[in-house]
Symmetry: C2
Subunit: 970 residues, 2 copies
């Protein structure tokens, strides 16, 4: 079916639907796709490339516009190009004596490896196959090419199951008693062709197409269709590629790597994609066609083998690789075929690489004078650095794994880093389990583009077949997922979800640990460790990044260990030190709990006391005496609780002073932003559920069975302490229930704690300042900032700041050490941003708490959203990304812009404003923070390198766009 | 102590600290206070007023500025004024023979009745009292005046306990065998004076001041001090009066109402303050001084008595009342004294009145040609209308109360409306109990300004003494609190918190019901009813209001009864019809629960089915067959749940269609805005706590005691139904726990429900449209609007609107009845406002849900905030008002302004934008809604009249300011 109207053509550039390779060049990626543009460029550079032409990406879009049918007139233009090609090759398309065979390949603007479909050997039919046999004097070769073509065409164009074709081939091999395809005789292959065609007819109802133009046109349409298949869409979503770009179609004269022992085909990289070492690496298959390499079916040889077997071709290839690198100034990933000793290049593109390689190549290329430092910085994507900080298996874990007999097998190390998780065997299961936050290891015989959705969510990938260029390896490296391939000791039964390794086995849901840097596979949950430092190349690169960036990068760290790690990773301050984690430590928790249970009574009593004192200050005579009496009575009643409260706070002060001392010392010379207590106090109390259960159980038993009651109580005492009774538990339960909240996220927390329980916060401030003054006295440059959480009104800020400065100035006066400190707030609820101009009259700095700010701006609870509606929202494209992972620049971002603008209008354009939500380490969010002019981003220590690089990218992009911050600060 | 510096005087208007009455007029309220300005005005009108002078409010502020001491030079100016006054009166201040006595009274710009202190008879000492006795030839009178002065001065100026003085007087009366003060002999009074002075000396350490200037200066300072006493501050906070206005001090020559049977004193209103009837009403006491009337100590006579006893004085008073009304064009509240047959006016001011009276007086005055309609509208405060809608005791309740012997006693009906609540005896208890949301009835012998804090939170006030002009009555009427006074059948024992009435008694915490319209007092909780209609005067006034206002007023109503009531109250549409209340009705809840428990499974299955169908639509050949097979298998597995789900939804559809039919019919011709389901579904499930307890109990018992287990199960079955088992309860508990959320307010609710559970929402839309189409077919003008709750992204709105219109258009097509409908959204989370321009591309109207919008803008949970930190915040002045009661115009208001501006930029300036949060009926918030240009406010039916009046006030104020909306719509 075709359309009658040719109006689609008017929209084409120059009204041209096709370009011969000679007509194009590398700058035409958008029109010709990456593959087509690079083939043209290679042609231009004089590199041997089989002739051919490209149908442009615009035609693909036209195909969708006209209703997914062949655009009118396109067939004629293709016929003309084929005629020209045939003439060039001195062959005829469909010519029974001297047939022109072509490959038909997709090629989009951005590389989507293995995501789309390719057809080789097109132009073969019952007649031309004989011609090919005669011409090459090799019937085996000709019929092998024909059976390959029939299978590919049936699969890709006609949607017939490939497995059925493979089954027939396998049966034939068994019948013939051979194991390799290449050992099948011409007659056997003829018979396979007959079977293939018969199967085709049975399934489709008509004969396998003999008209070569029908073959070609159907293949072109199939490539267009493949642009919108599920795996291509998933890939583009993952890589954020526009769905409207379309794919080009490359039609190219075939050359054959399967024309005997002086032929072959392979994939080569101009540098090592794994570690970046200069020099050719890659895989090579003798006497084979290209898809055999990529599919990982046959065991490939390293490219070094080629050097031994065909030194001339190797030298030629090496020469071309160098030429291409010099030309593109990028590491190249090339496909080549050697037809009877003659080398043809079939593709070149910028090569995918591991993060380690990306960094090394970028740094090396600067040293080689190929690229600038700035370009090197831009060559590494911030997300990639995450891979450099992958967990690894420390020596002690490995030793333990060996001692416990956990070592299972060793495969090929295909993508570095260690991973541990539950075994899953298919993509749906992977997605399901990953949604429960369980780490997942995907185990397959091999992977195909169909598995993309599952691979995306996996922590690690393990296959029993394939080499370092197999689909699994390529994808895993691209996405930075640890991967082991070709682990042939594994016998994988996908159907029954079981893997046997010698006499051991494991299955669905079992824990497995893999090491993608060594290829080791271990049974069970082996403890992993996070790295503590960066490689020298990474340090070099990040040094250049630091030169380029404007944003400072701080870290979120709650203890000296994390603070030190953050410094190693390049943090120049602490943007968020949470104090509540310190309360949770086991030796402190009982004190904290006791303190909390008495806090309300003590603070209320104290507030009442202050009220009486105030009256007393203004009273005279008789009234004064009465009030003095009242105060004495009040004190008699309330002082015991107040004293107990302060006794407990005093104990906590000891701990906190030590905490702050450690972290201030670790970061000496840099600001440490300490946030005062933030979560609802009931978070520190025993959980209601278990407590309620204990009480109900005890009460129930007490009424019917004294002995059972005593036994149950004894049990509970083991957990809750020897002194608990039913009465004490009942009382505790009552307090826990009294303090519980319907929506704790919006309850008595953040700065509201400081107002309702000022003594707790005063204790914290005293801890900070005593630590800082003492350090300073000892020559350590302690630089504390006090951050008030969750301020929503300037009055809250005023109240809290007054309290903080009173305590701090008192400590300074007591110690006689003048430590500089600042008091600011987190902007983490909308009202803080909406009134930032006012809040800034009292706050010296702002730090965006975008976790909470996103919660209240969207009205989503982070805990609840992920398990209820966010997956549906992402699935239905209502949200483009989880707003707790990627900053919502439109809504939350607008509030941030308002706060930046109005805060600085009040306090001056140098007012320090940062971000300490988890978005502070997410590259696109860091870019936004640069654009709106923040002073710093603060993120977890492991994301500091990412943030440094992302900040540099943002600054360089801005420079290259030749403009200032592109965000309108309305 | 005085200050040396006179610089304070430079700040005074004309550098004058004092004004003789002759120098002032009514426009000088700010400077002279209300009382001083009106005394001057009366003087100007030729009305008999004792001479005197006023110390200005500016001097009060100077007193606070110079450090709460006598400003330098003020004493001299006062001495000069006193000299002038003495000359006018032909007396001498401190003159032993012919002493000038004065009153010293406070008088602020705005009337604060009883809130501040007054001293009478100043100028008496041991010498002048004798002169007064000689002059009047009445030693009894002179010594009575002296003992009153000592008591007042000691109490007000010197802070000695008044009760001690009363105790001495009472003892004397007992000793003399008399019951009334006026029956005490001169000698007895002399003795009382001696005792008073002795007590004074014992307490204060020095003699009672004999120097009359010392008396005067101390009194002036006491008045200044009283401006900042606790009760004055509370009153000003309540009435939103600026604390910086200060009070004036009026020093006036005394005239005496206690000079025998041809003397007296009283309070008169120019119209009835209770119901607005024209003509003098008031109270009168023969042979008494003014404070006796206000204090409610002696039983007063109605003003009509005066007509009988002293017809000339009555006529004169009536004449003056008319003159003042004509002059001020307002109902007057006047104080007068008759000294030996001669009438003096001591004060006039605009009279406080009940809401009923306010409305009637305003309407009458328009008819009398005194004021314009617009002025009448402005004369009634919107909050006052709330009083007109006070609950009442319906006949059946009254009958029931009588039958059950609940009638206790009858007092004076002092402030209309019925109230029911728990008895409290003091202000602190009142505040404490009211904070728990329990209604409170405050019971006192009488009330004093000290009780203000308690009266403010009470639902009703009951006293055993006092008349309709007593403090309790005045305050209750002013604040619209139902009140019964003078109920002398009650014997109140404040100390023991017990009340005895004949042989019955009640106490602290017992329920009591009072009817302030009849004076009836009933024991127990008598069912009250809310009124269904407005009085004719109110309708007239609100008709005028409607002419003036620009905002439309809609109502929030969930059922036909409320809708009808709202129409009666003037609502011209429903702005919020909540659909979830309908789910809670007892016959429906089991169906709803069953539906919810199956919903997730059914919807997930359906989503999976849609995914397969989508693939299938694009598949061909073999692939198609496979997908068809997959679909069949999927259906076999998932259809039972899907069918059950739809069976239950079908039952709910029947109910919902009826619900919507009723409400659309009740509001025919007006828009009914129906909000789709809003709360988290788990709110409809059994509560976790009790369920968990039942399960734990049963499990515990099952393990130890089979019999006890059976008994417990039987018990539980009585509540949960006969079919429940431990297993079924355990399963139910698991589902309830699975569906529970950490922060339900931010969880799976609002429009997110429609996306995750579309079938529920589709059922609702079908119900709405089937009802509307059917009504329209029957000639009823049903006008439905569908409101999507909680939209935060335009994508959510798009998704939901598409779903709604698909169902709605389908119903229209099915029925063939073209009903017009609109689809809009609630703007109730910050992101909706921040992206309003986008959201408006899909939303036809906006309605601000300011309850939720305030929650997320502040980050406060409404449920948790009130019981935890909001009281502390109000106490510490961190919040001026609870943002859930009074709209936060700064923060939340800014979001609203953004949404109005940007929504209308997208959809045109006529885009309908309203508010349906509870702020929609709060007058200051309504004013804000007018200013920012909303189309309508929607509130509960009872607040509709208030909103209509508030909207008119806003429009008139805007007109009077001669400008457009004063809010900057940045």
């Amino acid at each position: 079916m075709t359309t009658a109207c040719q109006c689609w053509r008017d929209k084409l550039t120059d009204k041209k639907a096709t370009y011969q390779f000679e007509e194009g060049n590398a700058t035409m990626r958008g029109l010709l796709g990456g593959k087509g543009a690079n083939l043209a460029e290679m042609k231009r550079l004089g590199i041997p490339v089989p002739d051919g032409f490209t149908i442009t990406t615009e035609v693909c879009n036209a195909y969708y516009e006209v209703g997914k049918v062949m655009p009118a007139g396109l067939e004629d233009e293709i016929r003309e190009q084929i005629a020209a090609l045939a003439k060039k090759m001195d062959k005829g398309f469909g010519d029974a004596k001297n047939p022109l065979l072509v490959s038909v390949r997709s090629g989009a603007k951005f590389s989507m490896p293995g995501m789309m479909d390719t057809i080789l050997n097109l132009g073969l039919n019952d007649e031309t196959v004989e011609g090919l046999a005669a011409l090459t004097n090799d019937a085996r070769f000709a019929y092998d090419a024909y059976r390959r073509f029939i299978m590919m065409f049936s699969d890709v164009v006609m949607d017939l199951p490939k497995s059925e074709f493979e089954k027939m081939l396998r049966a034939k091999k068994e019948a013939e008693g051979v194991t390799e395809d290449s050992k099948l005789s011409a007659d056997a292959l003829k018979d396979v062709v007959k079977q293939y065609k018969a199967f085709y007819k049975a399934e489709k109802g008509n004969e396998f197409p003999q008209n070569v133009y029908t073959q070609l046109f159907e293949a072109v349409l199939a490539v267009f269709r493949s642009w919108m298949n599920e795996r291509a869409i998933i890939y583009r979503n993952r890589e954020k590629i526009d769905h409207k770009l379309g794919t080009a179609v490359n039609v190219q004269a075939m050359c054959f790597g399967n024309m005997g022992e002086n032929s072959g085909t392979g994939v080569a990289f101009s540098r090592d994609y794994n570690d970046g070492t200069p020099g050719l690496v890659g895989d090579f298959l003798l006497n084979a066609q290209g898809e055999d390499v990529v599919a990982g079916i046959r065991k490939v040889s390293p490219i070094d083998e080629l050097k031994r077997i065909m030194p001339e071709s190797y030298e030629k290839l090496n020469e071309i690789a160098n030429k291409l690198e010099q030309h593109y100034k990028e590491m190249q990933d090339m496909e080549f075929t050697i037809q009877q000793g003659r080398l043809f290049m079939l593709q070149t593109r910028n090569g995918k690489r591991t993060a380690t390689a990306a960094v090394k190549i970028a740094v090396d290329m600067v040293e080689e004078g190929l690229i600038s430092k700035e370009e090197a910085v831009m060559r590494v994507q911030p997300e990639q650095l995450d891979r450099l900080l992958h967990p690894f298996i420390p020596e002690k874990s490995k030793k333990m794994a060996i001692e416990n007999n956990c070592m299972l097998a060793k495969g090929t190390a295909a993508s570095p880093g260690a991973a541990c998780g539950r075994v899953v065997f298919d993509k749906n299961e992977a997605v399901r389990v990953a949604a429960t936050k369980e780490p997942v290891i995907m185990v397959r015989v091999d992977t195909t583009p169909e598995d993309a959705a599952g691979m995306l969510v996996a922590k690690g990938i393990l296959t029993s077949t394939g080499g370092p260029s197999s689909h699994a390896a390529l994808v895993a490296r691209g996405w930075g997922i640890p991967c082991v391939v070709g682990c042939d000791a594994l016998h994988i039964d996908i159907e029954n979800k079981k893997v046997t390794v010698g006499d051991r086995s494991f299955g669905d849901g079992d824990y497995l640990t893999i090491d993608g840097s060594t290829g080791e596979v271990m049974l069970g949950k082996i403890p992993l460790e996070d790295p503590n430092d960066l490689t020298p190349e990474t340090k070099t690169l990040l040094g250049w990044a630091d030169e380029a960036k404007k944003l400072k990068v701080y870290a979120n760290a709650d203890n000296p260990r994390d603070a030190k790690r953050a410094r190693n990773f390049g943090a120049v301050g602490i943007g968020l030190c949470r104090t509540e984690h310190m309360f949770m430590e086991s030796e402190r928790l009982p004190i904290v709990q006791e303190m909390i249970l008495i806090a309300a009574e003590a603070e209320q009593g104290h507030r009442a006391r202050l009220a009486i004192e105030k009256e007393l200050a203004e009273a005279t005579g008789n009234q004064k005496a009465k009030l003095e009496q009242k105060l004495a009575e009040h004190d008699a009643k309330t002082m015991p609780a107040w004293n107990k409260y302060h006794e407990l706070l005093g104990k906590l002060l000891e701990f906190q002073r030590g905490d702050f001392r450690g972290i201030l010392e670790a970061m000496q010379g840099n600001w440490v932003t300490i946030r005062l207590i933030d979560p609802p106090l009931h978070e520190f109390l025993p959980k209601h559920g278990k407590l309620f259960e204990d009480v109900v159980r005890l009460k129930t038993l007490k009424a019917v069975d004294e002995k059972a009651f005593e036994a149950a109580l004894a049990e509970i005492r083991k957990v809750r302490g020897p002194e608990v009774t039913l009465e004490s538990l009942t009382a505790l339960l009552a307090r826990v229930e009294q303090m519980s909240e319907a929506n704790p996220m919006l309850g008595l927390r953040v700065c509201r704690l400081g107002i309702v329980f000022p003594e707790i916060v005063k204790m914290q401030v005293r801890g900070i300042m005593e630590a800082a003054c003492d350090l300073r006295k000892n020559g350590v440059d302690a630089k504390p900032k006090v951050m008030i959480p969750g301020v929503g009104t300037v009055e809250e800020m005023r109240w809290n700041r007054k309290m903080v400065t009173e305590v701090a100035d008192k400590v300074i006066a007591e110690t006689g050490v003048p430590v500089e400190y600042h008091v600011g707030t987190m902007v983490e609820i909308p009202r803080a941003a909406l009134t930032a101009g006012d809040v800034a009259t009292e706050a010296e700095f702002f730090s965006f708490g975008t976790n909470d700010l996103s919660q209240t701006t969207f009205g989503y609870s982070r805990d609840d959203a992920a398990k209820t509606f966010v997956p549906v929202y992402l699935d239905q494209h209502i949200l483009k990304a989880d707003p707790f992972q990627v900053l919502d620049q439109v809504g939350v971002g607008r509030l941030m812009k308002m706060a930046v603008k109005e805060g600085r209008e009040t306090r001056g354009k140098d007012m320090e404003i940062g971000i300490c939500g988890e978005h502070g380490g997410e590259p696109s969010s860091v870019g936004f923070c640069h654009e709106i002019g923040l002073t710093y981003v603060s993120c977890s220590p492991y994301r500091v390198p990412i943030a440094r690089l992302a900040a540099a990218h943002a600054a360089i992009k801005e420079k290259r766009n030749g403009q200032g911050a592109s965000v309108d600060l309305r």
